[in-house]
């Protein structure tokens, strides 16, 4: 199955936002804070304004009423006792800067080069303040405050409970307790963010090109802020070069200010982020510290889990509690956990804002649970795969209510799943038993450090509220599908086309999908939470079914046959058993839109229908990752020798696309596990703000991923699908840690943190071995 979008992308014809070039276009550069925390005294832009080629320079003071904190995107779910302090980002800093890279002034000039030149002319007088960097120190009495109007740096405090953990603990054979750290990483889409805007004074229409995952909410928000009708604003998210979460943050200051400047100046304006800005100004994820405890019975059955964690939300918290609630809910995994007590505190720090990045906090929960199970297995002398098998939810336990609230404000209920066979399949593919029994002892005897890791996860996907789609059969017989979600490489142009093609009996290549253009479709929310295929896909399906009905109505009249005797195939409708009766869909589209004559009362023209789909709640995908790694204890380099993913995302629309999502997710996960870490110093300065120092995995770092699919359909949508976009990245850290630890079992290394790096692993080996360089085996 070839992708419909590929020819454009491969030949360089696909439009990305920075490709937008309009006559008279102005270019923007932002002056950003060099300090993590400082009082802004004066921002002097007079010299910058005088520079030839500079058209305008704006500071917070120039924005007037347009200066206001951004919206709270995701209000906190209804959890009893919840504390949440909303402090959303500002368009341009006014009195204070709260992270390095926060924008202070905006320069608009005839070229980007000139705009950047003018940044040198802006004089900022800032009084540096002590920075809040470490989440624990942030909560200490007397810590500097990121937001002065709050009594502390607490952004949120949430406790969720299921059953009586204290009682479970009292009856436990053993309790396993550890502290886990999961540090920050960047989403690092290869395309940086960009916004271009053009006001057409004749049409009185504002067109905005934006690298957003959510063009419709951007349109609605801009219209309201700029005092325009929603229909006067057209937001286009054309081809977007990778999203991974941060491109759905809104409003970024830049996407608020560029359209405003275009209106104000009456000229098209464009801003494209550079890579260094991306490291400071595009949202990030992952800083958490967990103190977790597992109460376990002698036979390895989980009696309960208690987890207390700190979540670093950065300088502002516009995305609410999505990330820490995902961590909280995903921790439970595919297991039967009778009691659970989870408490988190989200903490403001003088660092870049945290919003979901592929996995969106789920990986933290999986890491904690899977590591606890590993330590429990070791303590109880139970095989690692076996302890998992003993705790998996059984098919008869579905739908399974975990009795806590998920990020979509609905109770965390698993819709369907069949977990044990997925575990068995992964073990079979990677050859677990044979490896542990025969191969590993042989390799160890030969002095090699090779280990295996097997971890399970459940991923909440495909949440509401809703998406929509419009399907139109054109007189050419080609089919147009318009939907509101943006697309960032997932293959929506093909997957949605397949869904519609199957219903209408046309060739996939005859289905033209349009996404991310509010003029084409303007109801919906966006691409996030692994929900495109589930929610928008289901809407496409519903719209296609409605069009099919209309096709059958028109064809039935035209062919003088009962609808139930008709069949759709090859772009034609036929009377079953009468091949000569065929009439093409294009012909029927023309008949459905007559130029003269009368139609039946109530008839709508054309073969077109719009439909919406909103799931009752999210569907839960699941899977198992298994890895074999080899570690060189001298250099602490790790080579991933095998990587197996067995994934159940319900019904698979397109295996090629699903495999692609998983392969990319695993690469992302391996990056997070071993290469990628945003390093901040004690003053809140990011020390590796380039691809020279922040290492993304390359083709030589990432193993081939062996995938297998299981299909347990979701009962929550007509297609039976579940999401897959984040699956590859979620359990990777846990699998990697377990396998590395196993490889180094004779050193007694214990891994409770992610990301590792060769340096950090070397330290761990040295500490554990207490030996000289490279450590020494314990035995």
């Amino acid at each position: 199955m070839r992708r419909n979008e590929d020819a454009r992308l491969l030949t360089g014809r696909a439009l990305f936002v920075d490709d937008v070039q309009v006559e008279g276009m102005l270019h923007v550069a932002f002056l950003r804070s060099q300090h993590a925390h400082a009082c802004l005294r004066t921002v002097d832009v007079a010299a910058a304004r005088r520079r030839p080629g500079v058209v305008a320079v704006y500071t917070a003071a120039d924005l007037g009423d347009y200066w206001r904190p951004g919206p709270l995107l995701v209000p906190p779910p209804p959890i009893a006792g919840l504390v949440f302090n909303a402090c959303t980002q500002l368009p341009l800093a006014r009195d204070k800067v709260r992270h390095v890279g926060e924008p202070i002034a905006m320069v608009v000039a005839e070229s980007r080069y000139l705009a950047e030149d003018a940044l040198d002319d802006v004089m900022v007088d800032a009084e540096p303040l002590a920075a809040v960097v470490d989440v624990e120190a942030a909560l200490a009495p007397g810590a500097p405050l990121v937001h002065d109007h709050l009594p502390s740096n607490v952004a949120a405090h949430v406790v969720q409970r299921k059953g009586d953990y204290g009682r479970a603990r009292a009856g436990a054979h053993a309790t396993i307790r550890r502290r886990f750290r999961y540090d920050r990483g960047a989403s690092a889409a290869i395309e940086n963010r960009a916004v271009a805007a053009q006001w057409d004074p004749r049409a009185e229409e504002l067109t905005v090109w934006d690298t957003t995952q959510a063009p419709i909410p951007i349109r609605n928000g801009l219209a309201s802020l700029l005092g325009l009708l929603e229909s006067q604003v057209r937001v286009i998210a054309p081809f977007v070069g990778g999203g991974f979460g941060p491109k759905i943050m809104m409003f970024y200051p830049e996407e608020l200010l560029v359209p405003w400047a275009a209106l104000r100046l009456g000229r098209p304006v464009k801003w494209t982020e550079d890579r260094q800005e991306n490291f400071y100004a595009t949202t990030q994820e992952r800083g958490q510290v967990h103190d977790a405890e597992l109460a376990i019975a002698r036979d390895g059955k989980i009696l309960g889990v208690r987890d207390v964690f700190l979540h670093d939300t950065g300088a502002y918290d516009p995305y609410g509690l999505t990330v820490p609630i995902n961590s909280q809910c995903t921790l439970l995994g595919p297991y039967d956990v009778p009691t659970y007590e989870s408490e988190f505190t989200a903490v403001f720090t003088n660092k870049t804002i945290v919003t979901p990045v592929r996995g969106a906090g789920r990986q933290h929960g999986v890491f904690v649970m899977e590591r606890l199970l590993d330590f429990a297995a070791a303590e109880l002398g139970i095989d690692r795969a076996e302890i998992r098998r003993r705790n998996l939810l059984r098919p008869e336990q579905f739908p399974h209510n975990h009795e806590i609230i998920f990020q979509d404000s609905a109770p965390l209920v698993y819709d369907s799943g069949d977990y044990a066979p997925a575990l068995d399949e992964a073990l079979r593919i990677i050859g677990y038993e044979r490896f542990v029994r025969d191969e590993q002892p042989r390799l160890r005897a030969a002095g090699r450090h090779v280990g295996i890791g097997v971890v399970c996860y459940v991923e909440g996907t495909g949440i509401g509220p809703y998406e929509g789609a419009r399907v139109t059969v054109e007189p050419s017989g080609r089919v147009r599908v318009a939907t509101g979600v943006g697309t960032q490489g997932q293959g929506h142009f093909t997957a949605f086309a397949q869904i519609v093609a199957e219903v209408l009996g046309v060739d996939v290549e005859r289905v033209h999908v349009i996404t991310g253009d509010t003029r084409e479709f303007h109801w919906g929310t966006g691409t996030f939470a692994s929900r495109g295929a589930v929610v928008a896909g289901s809407a496409c399906h519903a719209a296609a079914l409605a069009v099919r009905e209309r096709i059958l109505d028109v064809a039935s009249r035209h062919l003088e046959a009962a609808k139930q005797d008709l069949e759709l195939a090859d772009g034609h409708v036929r009377v079953r058993g009468a091949p000569d009766s065929a009439v093409s869909l294009g012909e029927l589209a023309l008949k459905a839109n007559p130029l003269r004559g009368a139609v039946r009362p109530g008839t709508e023209p054309g073969l077109e229908a719009t439909a919406y789909f909103g799931p009752a709640r999210g569907s839960t995908a699941n899977g198992v990752h298994a890895a074999i790694v080899e570690v060189d204890p001298e250099t602490a380099l790790v080579e991933v020798r095998r990587y197996v993913v067995v994934h159940d995302s319900g019904r698979v629309i397109n295996p090629l696309l699903v495999d692609g999502q998983i392969q990319g997710g695993v690469a992302h996960g391996i990056g997070n596990a071993f290469y990628e870490q945003l390093v901040y110093d004690e003053n809140g300065q990011l020390l590796n703000a380039s691809f020279m120092d922040y290492l993304l995995p390359t083709a030589t770092d990432v193993p081939p991923v062996e995938t297998a699919h299981r299909e347990t359909p979701s009962p929550l949508n007509p297609l039976g699908v579940k999401g897959v976009g984040e699956a590859g990245a979620i359990p990777t850290g846990a699998a990697f840690a377990q396998a590395v630890e196993d490889a180094l079992s004779d050193y007694g290394v214990e891994i409770t943190e992610i990301p590792l790096s060769p340096n950090r692993l070397f330290e761990l080996i040295t500490q554990a071995g207490r030996g000289g360089a490279g450590g020494r085996p314990k035995r």
Binding site: L10, T11, F16, D19, Q663, A699
Partner: protein, 173 residues
């Protein structure tokens, strides 16, 4: 305004001449002066490889070069790969482009032009590379979507290499 100097080069077989600022990057020249926006910029410091183009047939990072350094040279961008710019149908794709499409070697497609332009001279010099060589050739290009697996598969397909054997559980090196 800075003094402009003439830059004269052949781009995708077409001679062109522009007066440009000496500091104008080749990537910006191709994208904004010539409108060849298939060349993408991902990091502006020569690491990601998205901006790779051919200079006299060899892969270079156009974000690390000034336009005037290409003066007198022949530049090929992704738009110059397919015989007719890849108009309609896969018949008009370069064999490597066709293989990428066949093997699902791209997702968002942003890094893809640079990867293609890196691979073209590599495959010219190494017509039948093994997996290790392919991965090493790709190691200067970053892709965040694919995990590289299908890119490797596409290169093998383009070389008409036999499909790889199924991964063996043995760890013998």
């Amino acid at each position: 305004m800075k003094d402009r100097v003439a830059a004269q080069m052949t781009v995708n077989g077409v001679p062109c001449e522009r007066a440009v600022e000496p500091r104008l990057l080749l990537s910006d020249f191709l994208r904004y002066e010539l409108g060849l926006t298939g060349t993408h910029v991902g990091c502006e410091h020569g690491v990601c490889g998205a901006c790779t183009v051919l200079l006299d047939g060899e892969a270079v990072r156009s974000c690390l070069m000034f336009a005037i350094q290409a003066d007198g040279h022949e530049v090929t961008t992704v738009e110059g790969l397919a015989p007719d710019g890849g108009g309609a149908g896969s018949e008009s794709l370069h064999p490597l482009q066709a293989a990428f499409r066949e093997a699902h070697a791209l997702q968002c497609g942003f890094c893809t032009p640079g990867i293609l332009m890196t691979l073209v001279p590599f495959l010219r010099d190494h017509p039948s590379p093994n997996e290790r060589e392919i991965r090493e050739a790709l190691s200067g290009n970053l892709c965040r979507c694919t995990g590289y697996q299908n890119i490797v598969a596409a290169v093998k397909l383009a070389c008409d290499a036999p499909p790889p054997p199924p991964p063996s559980p043995s760890l013998r090196r």
